[in-house]
């Protein structure tokens, strides 16, 4: 059992949701500079797998380990090293985009407002940094969530359907960011329906029914 010394490995994870055997012995490996694309029809447990990987959901059987250690023993260090973008953009409607970033990223690392504005600029929503999140469109909110992932400077990206509500420019931008993240030595696990146009070695994991 060669658990990747410097990456993420998931071994034979089983999860039941009531009577449904959602994850049946799923295993995967993710090393730095690699991108894993998880696809499959709806309801095959893609999001459940992501929640197991990020440590929110503890599987009935199987093991998730980071740098060779089980994540339950190194929970806070592991979660400090990852950035998770869930299906919804997860922003507080009453807070401005900048405040959302400050309160989210500020818990992970000391960051200045300038840096945050720069990452918002990078994802093309610099103009609405001071607008409350509830007035932004779904696409803009997705870009703010992307800016948050960028600002966190995490080594492991866990993205659940990052392309929803994004226009073609947004999809290209996300591809670019993923590319530069993986080139810079980071790892990424992306759950998405359609194919990714990222010219880096993309490994695929198909979750069948």
């Amino acid at each position: 059992m060669n658990t990747a010394a410097d990456g993420l490995s998931v071994e034979k994870v089983h999860v039941w949701r009531g009577d449904r055997h959602v994850l049946q012995g799923v295993s995967l490996e993710l090393r730095p500079r690699q991108l894993l694309h998880i696809s499959g029809p709806n309801g095959t447990g893609k999001t459940t797998l992501l929640r197991v990987v990020c440590g929110l959901l503890r599987p009935e059987q199987g093991r998730v380990s980071w740098h060779g250690q089980s994540i339950s023993s190194v929970r806070t260090e592991y979660q400090a090293a990852l950035a998770y973008a869930s299906h919804e953009p997860a922003l507080k409607g009453d807070l401005t985009a900048l405040e959302n970033l400050r309160f989210a990223v500020g818990l992970k690392r000391r960051v200045t407002a300038g840096e945050l504005r720069a990452s918002l600029e990078r994802t093309g929503v610099g103009a609405c940094a001071d607008l409350p999140a509830r007035v932004l469109s779904a696409g803009q909110r997705r870009r703010v969530a992307l800016a948050r992932i960028l600002a966190m400077q995490a080594t492991l990206w866990l993205l659940d359907e990052p392309f929803t509500n994004l226009d073609t420019a947004g999809t290209a931008l996300t591809g670019e960011l993923l590319h530069s993240h993986v080139q810079a030595g980071g790892a990424a696990l992306v759950v998405a329906h359609h194919t990714l146009e990222v010219d880096v070695d993309v490994r695929r994991l198909e979750l069948g029914p």
């Binding site: 039941w16 949701r17 009531g18 009577d19 055997h21």
Partner: protein
């Protein structure tokens, strides 16, 4: 095998659902028989042979039902909390099944203790409810039971409902002594220290034996009903596993 190994295999066996299902199926009739015997003697002795109380007269015969059910209501809650703690800490599913099975039985004993308590208090107090400290804590215990049971049912995913109810049972059991102490403190505030002792202070042997045997009868009855309910709870939680098919086919 050293003592440690015996303990460990015993503990491991208790954690495996098929063993628990089989054991409780075998144990239930014996426990029920024992309960019938103990309660039979307790009833006959308590109602006919034991002397009336010098103060309360024949009314004291109600303690043979009130005191065991009141004690049981507390013991069952503590057992439920212990099973929940085992299940939550060591992630043993059978613990949740035991907690889920014992909750309704404990709640029914609490209701029994409340009704018999107020019936017993009626001749002394002149009313059915006089905020007696023990009955008030019994009432709060009933609220704790209802809280645990409704929380367990509120979740669609049964395993999450189990864990939430387990945590509430543990939080509840920590609060039971606090509630009891504060109710006694509050009651001494109003009625002063001269509370009529509900339990007889020093009981002659002829009254003590029926009470003990009724208590034993209630304990065995609880064990029997728990074994029956436990089989249902284990089946509900293990419906997908293979051993259930053999167990159910026969």
């Amino acid at each position: 095998m050293t003592v440690r190994e015996i303990m460990w295999t015993w503990f491991y066996k208790l954690a495996s659902p098929p063993y628990v299902y089989g054991a409780s199926a075998a144990l239930a009739p014996w426990a029920l028989g024992g309960a019938a015997l103990a309660m039979g003697y307790g009833l006959i002795a308590g109602l006919a042979i034991a002397p009336p109380d010098y103060q309360q007269g024949e009314a004291v015969r109600m303690i043979y039902v009130h005191v065991p059910s009141a004690m049981l209501s507390l013991t069952v809650y503590t057992l439920m909390a212990a099973a929940s703690a085992v299940a939550l800490i060591w992630r043993i599913k059978v613990g949740h099944a035991v907690a889920a099975a014992s909750a309704p039985i404990g709640a029914s004993f609490t209701i029994l203790a409340l009704v018999t308590g107020s019936l017993w208090g009626r001749p002394m107090w002149g009313t059915y409810w006089a905020w007696d400290p023990r009955l008030t804590s019994e009432l709060i215990l009933l609220f704790l039971y209802v809280g645990v049971m409704s929380l367990r049912l509120a979740f669609e995913d049964p395993s999450r409902g189990d864990r939430a109810a387990a945590l509430l049972a543990i939080v509840g059991v920590v609060n039971v002594p606090i509630v009891h102490f504060s109710v006694v403190w509050w009651n001494s505030l109003h009625q002063g220290a001269t509370i009529v002792r509900l339990g007889a202070p020093k009981m002659p042997g002829s009254m003590l034996w029926p009470l003990l045997s009724m208590w034993l009868g209630f304990m065995l009855f609880f064990a029997a009903v728990l074994c029956i309910r436990l089989q249902g709870e284990v089946l509900n939680r293990e419906r997908q596993s293979t051993w259930v098919r053999e167990a159910v086919k026969s």
